[in-house]
């Protein structure tokens, strides 16, 4: 299939936006003092990497990986040729739900930190520990 340079440019732009979002969120996790802000950044990092995984399985001019009209005599080879890659989608599907459960656990941990130290600022919890 012939591809125009503009199409490639738009794909590459999407790719770099996702990578830059991941970079920005890593900055948030490392550099911001508040634990709540760290959790927000962590959710953004998870989102960016999940979309990146789906993006890797994407094909231009394609259909979703769901077979329609399966009772009729469908052309499976044609379906396999035009559908996007379902494997990254299956992996990301579970990753999103597991990520939510783990991040909610982090929210509980942050609440517990606030109960014990009275603050969510990591610079102050570090002083209070000693």
């Amino acid at each position: 299939m012939s591809t125009s340079t503009l199409e490639v440019f738009l794909l590459v732009l999407t790719l770099y936006s996702l990578l830059a979002t991941a970079g920005v969120s890593i900055y948030g996790i490392v550099a911001r003092p508040s634990i709540a802000k760290k959790i927000i950044s962590l959710t953004i990092l998870g989102d960016a990497l999940n979309v990146l995984a789906i993006f890797i399985g994407f094909r231009v001019y394609s259909v979703p990986p769901v077979l329609l009209g399966f009772d009729a005599d469908v052309d499976l080879m044609e379906f396999a040729r035009t559908a996007v890659d379902p494997l990254p989608q299956a992996l990301v599907l579970t990753a999103i739900v597991i990520g939510l459960a783990v991040n909610l656990f982090l929210v509980f941990l942050a609440l517990q930190v606030y109960r014990l130290y009275g603050t969510l600022d990591t610079r102050r919890t570090r002083e209070l520990r000693g």
């Binding site: 340079t5 936006s17 094909r59 599907l93 109960r115 014990l116």
Partner: protein, 268 residues
């Protein structure tokens, strides 16, 4: 002001990098060919012509989640289970009583609209779970959709409404465990049947294999149910949605009541 300069420079550098890689050709072709593995999954997801390889579900994603790579999903369900157990462990010894919950919720208009929306939300969640093997959807999606109901209940009607609806903390944990036990039962059923009858059966077996004739029923009165897929989707729906119910019930508890019950060490 400094913030805007940083933002503009990030956007500009991303565009410049994209321009450079496109027009100077740093990357090969992107997004134009399907991998061989993807083609295999797509062809064998629903393929009555190859019964020992197919899942009998036209939904390729659900086929991968619960059959082709079903053991992965099983372990991820275990991770999900452990995360919720860990959250419960932090709140150990806290009773979910009416004293632990806050006021009357939001205004009458919001409450009436939410009362109309919640049954629709539940219906959509059940539909997503039950049609997961035919159309986009499945246990995880339905569980996330139903979890929204728990947030609506906690925010709009106050956490007291869980008790009025008969969803106690112990009952939510029990329903989640029932979902997990159903998954275990479906996974072990072919092996148990195989041991009982002397036929070879595998863990998580869905349809006939080359050396095992065991198969879950794929059609019920003409309707495609794709063997194990519908049962696993419904069980996962219960496990995920009531897992999140537990979490949001605990999150909506009043902070001073939680501190009182957790003990002296939590005063600061």
């Amino acid at each position: 002001m400094r913030r805007h300069i940083v933002l503009v420079s990030i956007v500009l550098s991303v565009s410049a990098l994209a321009y450079a890689t496109t027009y100077l050709g740093a990357l090969g072709p992107l997004g134009f060919d399907t991998r061989l593995l993807a083609k295999l999954f797509l062809v064998y997801a629903y393929n009555p012509g190859a019964p020992e390889l197919t899942v009998m579900s036209p939904e390729a994603v659900t086929s991968i989640v619960w059959d082709f790579r079903g053991v992965d999903t099983l372990y991820e369900t275990v991770v999900f289970y452990m995360a919720i157990v860990a959250a419960l462990a932090i709140y150990r010894g806290i009773g979910y009583s009416s004293s632990g919950v806050r006021g009357a919720g939001l205004s009458l208009i919001v409450r009436v609209v939410t009362k109309i929306l919640i049954p629709m939300n539940v219906a959509i969640a059940v539909s997503i779970a039950a049609h997961g093997h035919l159309t986009p959807g499945g246990g995880f999606q339905a569980g996330a959709a139903l979890a929204v109901v728990s947030v609506l209940l906690a925010v709009v009607f106050s956490a007291l409404s869980f008790g009025k609806l008969g969803v106690s903390l112990a009952r939510a944990v029990a329903l989640r465990s029932a979902g997990l036990l159903t998954i275990a039962a479906v996974v072990l059923a072919p092996v148990a049947f195989g041991v009982a009858t002397g036929i070879r059966g595998f863990l998580m077996q869905n349809y006939v294999k080359l050396d095992s004739p065991l198969a879950f029923p794929t059609h019920v009165s003409g309707q495609l149910i794709s063997g194990t897929l519908i049962w696993l989707n419904l069980a996962e729906f219960f496990a995920v949605s009531f897992g999140f119910f537990v979490i949001f019930m605990l999150l909506s508890l009043r902070e001073d009541v939680v501190r009182e019950q957790l003990g002296e060490e939590h005063e600061h």
